[in-house]
């Protein structure tokens, strides 16, 4: 059964349409790229899936359920900006995640942090931007969720940090869970993706397997994307 389903999902802000009749189905074990230019509706879609926004029309189902407390327990979300209290130490954040999420594996998080040489007693605000991104990803990936929603996890970090982040996503691959990664940095992620979704002006333009795109178009997803979204 699909872990995530969107049926005729639409979102309007006043007169402006952010998403228009989106139909999607994502199976467990898939790593899916949500790809589109700025303003195409990526973040709106992610926020509808995790229940931070409510649809104007249509519905979202996670494991057959509408977003609510039950689905929040099954969805691990990495927002596109810093979301942790910056006065807390890394250790305190771990405890917070432990309190909030029964599926959080503190030992796993600790092990990943130590491998990164992050001092758990350091305050979040004392960390570099790259390290903050890594710590936030580690916390999210240390949950045993059914659906991981990663909003721009590799935006604005250096190439080595990017590699670390993609490596962490592969390392934590779980055939029973799906991972959705939103980004416009396609060349960097396409090797770790099973499927690509192109969003354009709030509509799904394409939803195909990455290797099918390469096979039928004879070019990388990145190049194909540039062709489709040529300004």
């Amino acid at each position: 059964m699909a872990i995530l389903e969107c049926k005729n999902l639409s979102k309007r802000y006043g007169k402006k349409t952010a998403l228009e009749s989106v139909n999607l189905s994502i199976e467990p074990g898939r790593v899916v790229g949500l790809l589109g230019p700025n303003g195409s509706g990526k973040t709106t879609l992610i926020k509808l899936i995790n229940g931070l926004l409510t649809p104007s029309a249509g519905e979202v189902l996670i494991g057959g359920q509408k977003p609510g407390p039950l689905t929040k327990a099954a969805v691990a979300y990495l927002p596109d900006r810093d979301y942790l209290a910056d006065w807390m130490t890394v250790q305190q954040q771990i405890r917070l995640f432990q309190d909030f999420y029964p599926d959080f594996d503190a030992d796993k998080a600790m092990e990943m942090l130590l491998r990164l040489n992050v001092d758990p007693n350091q305050k979040f605000k004392a960390l570099s931007k790259g390290t903050r991104e890594k710590v936030q990803l580690i916390l999210v990936m240390s949950r045993k969720a059914q659906l991981y929603l990663l909003d721009e996890p590799i935006g604005g970090v250096d190439p080595a940090t990017r590699d670390y982040i993609l490596d962490t996503i592969i390392r934590n691959y779980n055939p029973e869970a799906a991972v959705v990664i939103s980004t416009h940095l396609i060349a960097d992620v396409e090797q770790v993706l099973d499927e690509a979704i192109f969003l354009q002006n709030g509509s799904v333009l394409l939803h195909e397997s990455v290797d099918d795109i390469r096979e039928t178009r004879g070019m990388s997803v990145d190049r194909y994307f540039r062709e489709v979204f040529k300004c």
Partner: protein, 127 residues
């Protein structure tokens, strides 16, 4: 192993070629045990499902085989490996000939150039 991918081909078919190259070059010796799908995927920086698909295809071709509990191994069939090596060689030769034809060289000229190259190599190694 070094992993580099071209944009104009599916990733799984490039994984198949890369692992085969490893086998024919002896980097992955006959009968040797392969790392797990996840470890190979991490090493190559690719999606584990894509790596799995490549390994299944290699299994169908007989280049690798699974033992239910022990994992995956490189074939011990030396003739099969030799055949794959020959196929790679033919591919190189075809690409080489195509390049030479584009430069305007004919068959005889190519052969004499190769002969010259061989003599030069001999000369150098004799010094």
């Amino acid at each position: 192993m070094e992993w580099n991918f071209r944009g104009d081909q599916p990733i799984y078919s490039q994984l198949i070629q890369r692992i085969k190259q490893g086998i024919v070059s002896g980097e992955l010796p006959p009968g040797g045990r392969l790392p797990s799908v996840r470890d190979l995927a991490m090493e190559a920086g690719v999606n584990p499902n894509t790596m799995q698909r490549a390994l299944q295809e290699l299994e169908r071709e007989g280049m690798v085989f699974s033992q239910r509990t022990a994992g995956r191994f490189v074939t011990e069939d030396v003739r099969l490996i030799e055949g794959a090596k020959r196929a790679f060689a033919q591919e190189h030769i075809r690409a080489f000939l195509e390049g030479m034809h584009k430069l305007g060289y004919g068959r005889e000229e190519i052969l004499s150039l190769l002969q010259e190259e061989k003599e030069e190599e001999h000369g150098n190694s004799g010094m």
